[in-house]
Amino acid sequence: MKQNKLYAFLVPVISVIIALLIASVIILSVGKNPIEAYSIMIVGAFGGSEQIADTLVKMTPLLLTGLAVGFGFRAGIFNIGAEGQMTMGALLGAVVAMNIGSVPSVIAIPICIISGMIGGALWASIAGFLKAFTGAHEVITTIMLNWIAVNLSSFMVTGPLAVGSGTPKSPEIADSAKLPVVLKVQASEMSIAIFIAVVVAIIMYVYLEKTTSGYELKGVGFNPYAAEYGGISIKKSIIMTMAISGALAGMAGIVDILGVPPNRFVGELSGGRGFDGIAIALIGRNNPIGIIFAALLIAALRTGSNAMQVQAQIPDDIVSIIQGIVIFLVASERIVYSLMQLTKRKKGSAAA
């Protein structure tokens, strides 16, 4: 058991190191010094309160979409639609947040976050119901729902919700709904969003490991036939998994509006972070605690790469390369790991 956990931790770490080594060859080939580049990257991600704030702000939605996708994986659902659910959550939450007026923040903020979660959950439930009652595969339906969500959001910010000149955007949300800022350095500010997200990750961990409902969802993910035999309703599980997964993605969207200036709904809000959730869930091995670290890793790589661009003129594609290699290694490690398990199992049964 313990060895497994150590292993689960070591694999991503080693993958990152290998990825950095490979990327350093590329950095060398474009005529830059990799050691300098990486030190700029580390300083750029963690070098000061401003950098840390930037990293954590970036990490928050990544963590939540990572949890959304990871949660689905645990229950055997491949939710590719975090992108659309994030958008729809943000949209519904933003509409509520714009109109909530001047109620106290302790009331306004939970209401807005919950609306965002409901937005994501409802959107995801469409795919959930389709899978449960018609067998339509969630990969197909969630991808289609992504497109609808993205186009709907573009329409909203250029049409019904559009306000002012400048970027297509909704009006600003009510002040009461803005998340309290805990750190402000120059133009960078960090709200309490990251703490909310980490708490959500811990709740998800407890839910999956300690509750009967978590036991049931994982069971369905592993073996739906046995779960059904054990009195677990597969349909209910599928719908619930989709709804929770969507709620987490929706939360990623609304928290990004409540906690990050300009506190408005803008077009293309998700910006691929819903898809990033898939990579993050994979690196974090679908474990909520692992996902926290995976999201931190990706966020740090990205803020660090921005610094690398600015200070060393290293193209930010390097980070895409690093990220790609990490995912590849973690994924192929799983192949290797499964093979190991398989041979172990064979030996085990032969010996018995």
């Binding site: 120059q186 610094a307 003129q313 193209p315």
Partner: protein, 337 residues
């Protein structure tokens, strides 16, 4: 004009010894290689930097949440920071307030107030597009024209207003009826979407499609190239005629390179002027490409007419609409060529 500025610049170089400014360009999620807007701005910066011996650097944002950190980082490192693209408007204002000693240049950005360290450059896209619209209306054989926009933000819409005004002008002066098919990709970065729209518009009968869609528009040009004669695309921002020689009728140019060049020089020369700068045909900020590959496809009379129209715009005789309301109210002036 340029030469004089250059002279002054060189002189001031000697005056201000140890003159070493660093120029940063921060883009939105579209990066270099778009063959239009971003590449054009970068070319202008590079040209100015080369003359002045400045350092330059380029930063691409991956998502909207990157705008503020990237602009902040650039401001810490650099003396002149370009925020390129309408989408960065809000972030630019926020960050500039934190770095009063840094000069910020916004391209395609308009601020409602004047900030001491922000100079923004806008374009009368409608003026170039007006000429392009007139040309397209003259060349079309199917009497159907297409338009592919990126996201319906003001700079894109201004292209459309001018285009429509140009078409309307041709219609009234030549007694022709032309149908316009419009579509938006809701994106600036995906050529596939632009191509899909263009293919659809060609299928509906349009034979010339004008794009104002950044990298999306590359797909429009590709579609025209695949269709072959007599179909045309019309390029945008920079001279895109070379991208499919003979199949890009012309390009509605927006001289972001000129704006970027002027902006860098203004800082170097100490003539930095905060506020919005609007460049039109008069300032050489917008125009129509020289039609290197397609001149012979067009009736010389039409080209002459366009020359005349251009002068009328310059003189201020014709005012091209820059809003929907103005477009609706646009009355084609009596022109005798």
């Amino acid at each position: 004009m340029k030469k004089i500025i250059l002279m002054v610049a060189l002189i001031s170089l000697f005056v201000v010894s140890a003159f070493s400014l660093k120029v940063f360009m921060v883009t939105d999620v579209g990066g270099l290689g778009d063959k239009s807007f971003n590449d054009g701005t970068w070319a202008g910066i590079e040209e100015a930097a080369e003359y002045l011996g400045l350092e330059t650097a380029f930063v691409q944002s991956k998502e909207q949440a990157d705008y503020i950190p990237n602009l902040s980082n650039a401001a810490k490192e650099g003396d002149i920071v370009f925020a390129v693209g309408f989408m960065m408007t809000d972030a630019l204002i926020d960050v500039a307030a934190q770095f009063p000693d840094t000069y910020f240049i916004g391209i395609d950005i308009e601020t409602t107030e004047v900030y001491n360290n922000i100079a923004t450059y806008l374009f009368k896209e409608q003026e170039g597009a007006f000429l392009v619209g007139y040309l397209a209306a003259a060349v079309t054989q199917s009497n159907k024209l297409g338009f592919v926009g990126g996201i319906a933000i003001p700079p894109v819409e201004r292209f459309r207003y001018g285009y429509e005004a140009g078409i309307k002008t041709y219609e009234e002066l030549n007694g022709k009826t032309i149908e316009l098919i419009k579509g938006y990709a809701n994106d600036f970065n995906d050529p596939k979407k632009g191509k899909d729209l263009a293919v659809a518009q060609f299928a509906e009968g349009a034979d010339i499609v004008f794009h104002a869609a950044g990298t999306c528009g590359n797909g429009v040009i590709e579609a025209a190239q695949e269709k072959g004669a007599p179909y045309y695309a019309i390029g945008v921002d920079v001279d895109q005629d070379y991208m499919a020689p003979g199949r890009v009728l012309t390009s509605s140019m927006k001289r972001v390179d000129v704006a970027a060049y002027d902006a860098v020089l203004s800082v170097a020369l100490g003539t930095f002027e905060p506020g919005n700068h609007v460049l039109g045909i008069v300032e050489d900020g917008v125009g129509i490409s020289p039609m290197t590959y397609t001149k012979d496809d067009v009736d010389p009379v039409v080209l002459e007419e366009i020359e005349i129209l251009k002068n009328l715009v310059k003189e201020g005789t014709i005012i091209i609409p820059d809003t929907q309301e103005a477009l609706d109210a646009f009355i084609v002036p009596e022109i005798v060529f």
